[in-house]
């Protein structure tokens, strides 16, 4: 979706302000919000693409006025309410008002480290040959899905060059909707700065995105 999360090239946000000696978490609630989100994914039955969509799918003023972990918290609440794990009333009341959803098994302490060390690889076996080769010129499709996509607005419609082929990976646009992994070839596509930002752009700049095959069309 063309939401406030898609920030590449936006103006007016001001300088980057690094925080010296920044801690991993700012306050205990960030620790707990982070850990709850990570440990609820498997019992809750959602994938990473559903999580990302739950975070970004909100009004721009809401997205921009929340801190990072407040967005995580809001996303977690949405995912749980959608699946009937908790109700909005329970979240607002801050206490249990309905029985638990049957069959939900928590992550046990002895599963934590192995699960993190394993992660969630997204590469899948290829079912068809890659359409594009390294060095090919491609045009990014100008699409505007109302659902989750990982094709940022600032590259849509622009010409780029295939730089790397990463194999076939789970496609977020369908996986976020529970419509299957639909693995597709994934490429790093590189753009010259002036192609993205116009004449007068620093000619030494180039930018790449990682793009699934269906985001691309051949430019002849």
């Amino acid at each position: 979706m063309d939401g406030a999360h898609d920030m590449g090239g936006a103006k007016g946000f001001g300088p980057v302000v690094p925080e010296p000696n920044e801690p991993v978490f700012h306050g205990d609630w960030e620790r707990r919000a982070f850990a709850l989100t990570v440990t609820m994914a498997r019992p809750g039955g959602w994938n990473i693409d559903m999580s990302r969509f739950a975070r970004e799918n909100r009004p721009p003023e809401d997205y921009l006025s929340k801190s990072y972990f407040q967005i995580w918290l809001a996303g977690l609440e949405t995912l749980m309410v959608e699946r009937g794990l908790v109700t909005r009333e329970e979240i607002e009341a801050g206490k249990v008002l309905s029985p638990p959803k049957p069959g939900v098994k928590p992550i046990a302490p002895n599963e934590v480290t192995p699960a993190i060390r394993r992660g969630g690889p997204t590469e899948r076996e290829a079912k068809a040959p890659a359409m594009f080769a390294v060095g090919d010129t491609v045009r990014m499709r100008d699409i505007h899905p109302v659902t989750h996509t990982r094709l940022p607005q600032y590259v849509r419609g622009h010409l780029g060059t295939i730089e790397l082929n990463h194999g076939c990976h789970v496609f977020p646009d369908t996986n976020s909707l529970g419509k299957g992994e639909d693995p597709q070839w994934l490429y790093t596509v590189r753009f010259d700065g002036p192609e993205l930002w116009g004449k007068g752009t620093d000619p030494t700049l180039s930018v790449s995105v990682d793009a699934w095959e269906s985001y691309l069309e051949r430019e002849t």
């Binding site: 936006a10 980057v16 690094p18 920044e22 700012h26 990072y68 979240i91 990982r150 700049l205």
Partner: protein, 215 residues
């Protein structure tokens, strides 16, 4: 508790907020945890373990070891550049948000910088969780359109002729920058070299320390 808890995503300032708003989020998280625990969905001991992992084991010191080894061991550097995921796993770093790693090398001709304009994708096994600035709107918006300006925010100026290459992490590939080994470090051990590597130099928003900068 610091006053940074509410640095809104859209703002770069660290606001001082009134405490009622602060405690509202704190209370909400606390209540949610007790609901989920009571319903049997989470085990608080698992939360503690996960937090401990991310505060004590998974952090930039891991990436620093990778870079220092690459600087001091040409065969390792070669493996890192051709199959980063496997080479990083040799040092026992793997998993969540680092399943598919690519290492990009800085040279006198080209400087690399990594961003995630859409969220906060970052190579956790080697760098830990991202700092607030990496997740902030100023960085996510400007890294792809004005990287030299971003570098200036970090106090870094590169020659006008150096190519700037920005990697937007829009998929599950995670990028680690291999900075240039500082001059004047001939014969240094991996342990000595590690003193020069900074987190920001592995994101591309900083440069390694020079030999004269460490005691």
């Amino acid at each position: 508790m610091s006053d940074h808890d509410h640095d809104h995503l859209g703002h770069h300032h660290h606001h001082d907020h009134d405490h009622s708003e602060l405690s509202e989020t704190e209370l909400r998280v606390r209540a949610l945890e007790s609901i989920l625990t009571e319903k049997g969905y989470v085990d608080p001991a698992s939360l503690d373990l996960l937090i401990d992992l991310y505060e004590k084991k998974i952090g930039p010191r891991n990436g620093i070891r990778v870079v220092a080894k690459a600087w001091s061991d040409p065969a390792y550097r070669e493996r890192l550049m051709t199959n980063a995921t496997a080479a990083i796993a040799e040092l026992d770093y793997s998993g969540r948000q680092g399943e598919h790693m690519v290492v990009v090398e800085n040279t006198p001709e080209q400087h690399n910088m990594v961003v995630c304009t859409l969220c906060s994708c970052y190579p956790h096994p080697v760098l830990g969780l991202p700092p607030v600035w990496y997740k902030s709107a100023p960085y996510r918006s400007r890294a792809v359109s004005d990287p030299r300006g971003v570098l200036r925010d970090f106090g870094v100026t590169l020659p006008d002729t150096t190519k700037i290459r920005v990697w937007d992490s829009t998929a599950e590939i995670r990028y680690l920058v291999l900075p240039m080994r500082p001059e004047g470090t001939e014969g240094w051990s991996a342990e000595q070299l590690a003193e020069l590597v900074t987190r920001d130099s592995m994101i591309g928003t900083g440069l390694p320390k020079q030999p004269g900068e460490i005691a």
